[in-house]
Structures are given as structure tokens and as C-alpha cells.
């Protein structure tokens, strides 16, 4: 028991070291510039939470960690099967129930889901660790932006072109890194992501450098634009509606929902083709693949190309939604976020990626709006304060979530793998324990 307290005390000490500067000190606008203010109470609360949490964990023993050792029970499998349809229905109906804020947030989440699904092909299926995925997102976004602003092409004709461009760059990245595995591959892809960004910053004559590209056209619905004048060729004019921004926001939401669902459908089908199985085999054992006559080079390149293509689609969507892009949007942190979503969700699991994206991108926002709602209802200063500061701790929460998931479920939130083909057609998922 004494050891337990000592361990908890040590954890509290580490927490103190971490949170004293992180939470304990804030800068505020004072009368003569910035003033440093100390918040000992907040630190004390967090540190004692850590102390108690660690104490509970130690007393309860390792029981919390146990679920990951076994496959999911039948009840969980049944519940898991219901999650995807429920999510889909919620996604389809969301614009009818939510305010603009939620539709915007859901659009952002869906963009990350689509990026996650694209990266899942490369990392989850083919097992190639890619830290520079944002490069393809950038290629897609700039392809659309430049084609649209230079040649006046529309979103729908540029979308496939953006995908093809990104796939092309995926193959280009693939060639030099074919021989690399694991850590080495990760480093080179990381560099590739940075190279693309730096080229975008410095090639001013093409990309307008750090100032970015403005006035990127919005997508149209069968030729109907969503401009605010409400004239002949516009959505509002055609349907005799009052022109409102929300119409465009909802349309964009359905566009990304459609794109994401296509990505999902395509990936799920791909998994069951010989190519998809070869990707997974490649992840399991490259040497054995070679001994079976599988052209490892081509198989890797197709994985890079298809993963990059989805990234490119997402990029084109990002450009059309923002109407403005600059290299700042394509920093390493984006790659890291998408990779974290894939790893947290469970490598190779489509549902896991979707859940992780919802939690990681949308979760914090939802928590914030919940807190500010609580603050309004209860008139609580504390909740209001936390809600206001929450965005500052985004990366902290992100890191915490990563650690927690990796401790409790080392193979990600959804760690089961459904076989691509079964002899009995029963289709029972395979436990992640083995």
C-alpha cells in the first residue's frame, strides 16, 4: 500500500512539473502590456486529479487494461455492427437538425475522415508508414485552385484531375522510397511533405507564395451556383428560394459526405480484390510476397497512388470550401493529425478511423460547446473559463487521448480485422489479440 501511494505521489509530482507552467501561468493584457498571472488553484485541482486517478488505477490493478487482451465479446460485436449504420443516418440527417455551426464542424470532421480513410490504404493496409500525407492534400488543393483560377475550370471537372495529380505525386514519392521500410520510410516521407510545402512557399510565380491563392470558385450543383444574387442560374433562383449562405454550407457538407462515402466504398471493395489482399500480405511479410511472385514494387506504388488520390480529392474539396488556400494549411501537424486518427482508430479499420476523427476533431469542439452551454445555464464562472481556454489545450488533449488509447487498446479503438473472404460465408471478425 505504501508503494501505491509513493507511485501515485510520483505521478502527481510529474504532473506538477508539467502543469505548473502549462496551466499555472497565464499571460493577460494588463494596463502596461502583458502581465503574468499565477493560478495555483487550477494546478492543485489537476495535480490532485492525477494523484487520485493513479491511485485508483493502482488499487484496481491491471483490470482496466484487460479488455485488449481478449477479442471483443459477442455483445460488443453486435453493438459494433450497429455503429456504422447509425453514424451514417446521423450524418445524412445532420443538416436538417443542426445549426450552421454544427454543419461546418461536421464538414471539417468529414474532411479528416476522408483523409484518414485515404491514409488508411497506405498505412493500415499496405503497412507503409507515411508521415508526409499532407503533401498529397496540398497537391490536390493547389491543382484545383490553379486549374480553376488560371483556366476557369469548374470543381467537378477538376476533381478527377486533382486526384490524378496527387496520384502521380504519390508514385513519384513511391519510387525513391521503395527500398525503405519502417523508420527510414517515415523520415523520407516526412521530408517529402516538407519539400512540397516549401516549394509552394517559394515558387511565387506559380503559387503566389505565402500569400496563397484567393477567389477559388465554389462548386455548383448541376450547373447551379450558390451565389447570393439569387438570379437565373443560381440554386436559390431555380428553386424560388431566398438565397442564404446556409444552402451552400449544406451543399458542401453533402459533397464531402458523398466523397467520403465513395472513398469508403472503394476501399472496402479494394480490400477484397487480389490487389487489396496483396497490400495486406505486404504489410505482413514482404519477403514471403516476393517468394510468391508478387511484384512488390508495383504493389507498393499502387498503394501510394491510391492513397494519394483520395488525399488529392480531399484537398480539392478543402480548396473549394475555403475559397482560399496558402501553404500554411499544409504543415506537418496536419500529417500528424491524420496519422494519429488512423492509429487511434485502429490500423486498417474504416469504422475506427471514422470514430477517431469524430473524437479527435469534433470531440473537443463539442465538449467546448457543451461547457459553454452549461456555463450559460448554471451561470458558472469555472465552466465558462474552461470552455474559453479549451482550444488552447487542443494538442494537450490530443496527446492525452493518444496515450490513453495506446495504454488501454494498443491496437486502436477498433482492432478487429474482418477477413476479406471466408469459406463458410459466415464472415466472423477476427480478434485483434493474435
Amino acid at each position: 500500500m505504501k508503494g501505491v501511494f509513493r507511485d501515485a505521489g510520483l505521478s502527481a509530482l510529474i504532473a506538477l512539473g508539467l502543469f505548473a507552467p502549462l496551466i499555472g501561468l497565464v499571460t493577460e493584457n494588463g494596463e502596461s502590456g502583458l502581465v503574468l498571472r499565477a493560478r495555483p488553484v487550477a494546478v492543485a485541482v489537476v495535480v490532485s486529479l492525477v494523484f487520485l486517478g493513479r491511485l485508483l488505477m493502482l488499487i484496481r490493478g491491471r483490470r482496466i487494461a484487460l479488455p485488449s487482451k481478449f477479442g471483443p465479446g459477442p455483445a460488443m460485436v453486435r453493438a459494433g455492427k450497429a455503429v456504422a449504420p447509425v453514424l451514417l443516418i446521423v450524418a445524412l440527417l445532420l443538416p436538417f437538425g443542426g445549426s450552421r455551426y454544427y454543419v461546418d464542424l461536421a464538414t471539417l470532421v468529414l474532411t479528416y475522415i476522408m483523409l484518414g480513410w485515404g491514409l488508411n490504404v497506405v498505412v493500415g493496409l499496405a503497412g507503409l508508414l507515411d508521415l508526409g500525407y499532407v503533401a498529397f492534400y496540398a497537391v490536390g488543393a493547389y491543382s484545383y485552385a490553379l486549374l480553376a483560377t488560371t483556366f476557369g475550370l469548374g470543381f467537378w471537372s477538376c476533381l478527377p484531375l486533382a486526384g490524378i495529380m496527387a496520384a502521380f505525386w504519390g508514385v513519384l514519392l513511391g519510387f525513391p522510397v521503395l527500398r525503405l521500410r519502417g523508420d527510414y520510410l517515415a523520415i523520407v516521407t516526412l521530408a517529402f511533405g516538407e519539400i512540397i510545402r516549401i516549394v509552394l512557399i517559394n515558387w511565387v510565380s506559380l503559387t503566389n507564395g505565402p500569400n496563397g491563392i484567393t477567389g477559388i470558385p465554389r462548386p455548383t450543383l448541376f450547373g447551379l451556383s450558390f451565389s447570393m444574387d439569387g438570379g437565373e442560374g443560381t440554386f436559390a433562383g431555380f428553386f424560388n428560394l431566398e438565397p442564404e449562405t446556409i444552402q451552400r454550407v449544406i451543399f458542401l457538407y453533402y459533397v464531402i459526405l458523398g466523397l467520403a462515402l465513395i472513398t469508403n466504398w472503394f476501399t472496402l471493395r479494394l480490400r477484397r480484390t487480389p490487389l487489396g489482399r496483396a497490400w495486406e500480405a505486404l504489410r505482413e511479410d514482404e519477403t514471403a510476397c516476393r517468394s510468391l511472385g508478387i511484384n512488390v514494387t508495383n504493389t507498393k506504388l499502387t498503394a501510394f497512388a491510391i492513397g494519394a488520390m483520395f488525399g488529392g480529392f480531399a484537398g480539392a474539396f478543402f480548396a473549394t470550401r475555403q475559397a482560399f488556400i496558402s501553404p500554411e494549411s499544409f504543415t506537418f501537424i496536419e500529417s500528424a493529425t491524420v496519422l494519429a486518427i488512423v492509429v487511434l482508430g485502429g490500423l486498417g479499420s474504416q469504422l475506427g478511423v471514422a470514430l477517431a476523427a469524430i473524437v479527435m476533431v469534433g470531440g473537443l469542439e463539442l465538449l467546448r460547446s457543451l461547457l459553454s452551454w452549461l456555463a450559460d445555464e448554471m451561470g458558472s464562472e469555472l465552466f465558462a473559463g474552461i470552455a474559453n481556454e479549451l482550444p488552447l489545450y487542443r494538442m494537450l488533449v490530443f496527446g492525452l487521448a493518444l496515450v490513453v488509447v495506446m495504454v488501454l487498446r494498443p491496437r486502436g479503438m477498433v482492432s478487429t480485422r474482418t477477413p476479406t473472404v471466408t469459406l463458410t460465408r459466415a464472415g466472423t471478425p477476427v480478434g485483434g489479440g493474435a
Binding site: P274, L275, I294, T424, A426
Partner: protein, 266 residues
């Protein structure tokens, strides 16, 4: 069918294989034996394209008369074109995939050709349907033969060791090889599993696939091989039928560790 001539493999200053020549005839089980570090696996890796030999040639003749220079082909083509399959000393299955999936991955090239650049397979159309059904039939056939039909949908990594060995052989056979190279197939098996394995190898031979195997266990080798090549310190020291090899003084010396091969080599 397979002729290895003057095969030499250097790793830096070390000659792992030194001027080794031998033949493996069609319809026979040829065994390569030798003490630890004799260069057996290196010879194997050269034949199956995992190493490129420093010197010498490896030629494979098909019944059709087609001739393949294995020492100059990219590794994966040795399996897909020359149809030489192999297994590994430490079993290399796709451990996270099911038994059935392992056997289907082995038919990758056939299925891939039928899948019309994957597009037909994604849509589940046309020739791919027939090819996929045929692939399943073949997998089922092999599952029956190795007695794993009941575990087809289990993860390969969860099988007992003996079953993993058999599965690896079945997976190699799914590429329709004319020569199957086995790297110590009996290692780690109990006597009963070894008997099952021998029966499986015999039946594969009867189907018209020749075998080349590395083996440590002299008992197994003497019982099932038609022709034995003995290596020691990278050189061939004997070549012949089991009876001849067993009586060869150089082989006895190598296995009992009395030989002066080092001085002879120098």
C-alpha cells in the same frame, strides 16, 4: 531440370558458396545437406532469386523446352514465370490473415490478370468472378490435402507449428510450381508430424512437381531423397544417391568434424 554451374557467392571477403555445381532432375527429390554454415541456405537464396550470385549460372528447363536463367531474373519473376516456389527456414506466413487468405494471396498473379487492372474485381464483374471461384476451389483443394479445411477462416498465426509448416507448403504450391524448394521443412516437427510431411511431399512429387530440399535431419533425408548433394564450408564434397553419400568418407568426416577441409580450401 535445374542445373547449377560454378555457383559462387561472396559476402565481402567471405566466400559463403564456392564453385558449387549440381543438377536436380525432374520427378526427383534432391536434397542439399551439410553441417551448419555450409552454405545451404545461401545456395537456396541464389536459386530463388533472393541473392544475386557473384559468379556462376543457374538454369532451369521447363518440360516445354523453355529455359530460364534464374541468376539473371528479378526475384519475383522466378516465382511467377520460372515457377520456382520456396518455403523458409523460419516459417513466413501472413500471420494476421486467415488460412484461406494466405492461399489466395499465393494466386495473386493469376487473379490479378483476371481482375482487369483491379477494376473488374472492384465491381465484381466478368472474367474475375470465374477466376475468383476457381481460386477458391484450388484453395479448398489444398486445405483438404493438408487437413486444415476446418480452420480455413482462422488466423494463420494462431495455428500450431506443424500446421503452419504444412500451410506454408500449400501456399507455395498455389503458384503451380514445377520446382518446390523447401528450407528445412522438418525442423521443429515431432516424429508423427514428420511422417505426415513426408507423405505430403511424396504426393506433391507424384503430381509432377520436383522437389529440392535443405535438411539437417539425416534420417529424413536418407528416407525420402532420390539424390543428395553434400556441402561443407561452401564447397560440394559429395553428390549421389543416399547409399553412396552415406558411405562417402568425406561426408562422414564433415559430419563428425574430423575433416581438414579448411587447409584444403586455403
Amino acid at each position: 531440370m535445374l542445373s547449377v554451374t560454378g555457383l559462387t557467392m561472396r559476402f565481402g571477403g567471405l566466400k559463403a558458396v564456392d564453385e558449387v555445381s549440381f543438377e536436380a532432375r525432374a520427378g526427383e527429390i534432391t536434397a542439399v545437406i551439410g553441417p551448419n554454415g555450409a552454405g545451404k541456405t545461401t545456395v537456396f537464396n541464389c536459386i530463388t532469386g533472393f541473392y544475386r550470385p557473384s559468379e556462376g549460372g543457374i538454369a532451369l528447363m521447363h518440360e516445354t523446352g523453355a529455359r530460364f536463367a534464374l541468376d539473371r531474373m528479378p526475384g519475383y519473376r522466378i516465382a511467377s514465370r520460372a515457377r520456382v516456389a520456396r518455403t523458409f527456414q523460419n516459417v513466413r506466413l501472413f500471420a494476421g490473415m486467415t488460412v484461406l487468405e494466405n492461399l489466395l494471396v499465393a494466386q495473386h498473379n493469376v487473379l490479378m490478370r483476371a481482375s482487369g487492372f483491379t477494376l473488374l474485381a472492384v465491381l465484381g464483374l466478368g472474367t474475375y468472378r470465374a477466376a475468383a471461384a476457381h481460386g477458391m476451389e484450388k484453395a479448398r483443394h489444398w486445405l483438404d490435402r493438408i487437413g486444415l479445411i476446418d480452420r480455413a477462416d482462422d488466423v494463420a498465426g494462431a495455428l500450431p507449428y506443424g500446421a503452419q509448416r504444412r500451410l506454408e507448403i500449400a501456399r507455395a504450391m498455389c503458384i503451380d510450381p514445377i520446382l518446390l524448394c523447401l528450407d528445412e521443412p522438418a525442423a521443429g516437427l515431432n516424429p508423427r508430424e514428420t511422417d505426415t510431411l513426408n507423405a505430403l511431399l511424396r504426393s506433391i512429387l507424384d503430381d509432377g512437381c520436383s522437389l529440392l530440399l535443405i535438411e539437417h535431419d539425416m534420417g529424413v533425408v536418407m528416407r525420402i531423397s532420390d539424390h543428395i548433394v553434400v556441402l561443407d564450408h561452401g564447397k560440394k564434397i559429395a553428390d549421389g544417391t543416399p547409399v553412396e553419400v552415406r558411405a562417402d568418407p568425406a561426408v562422414i568426416a564433415a559430419y563428425l568434424g574430423e575433416g581438414d577441409d579448411d587447409e584444403e580450401a586455403a
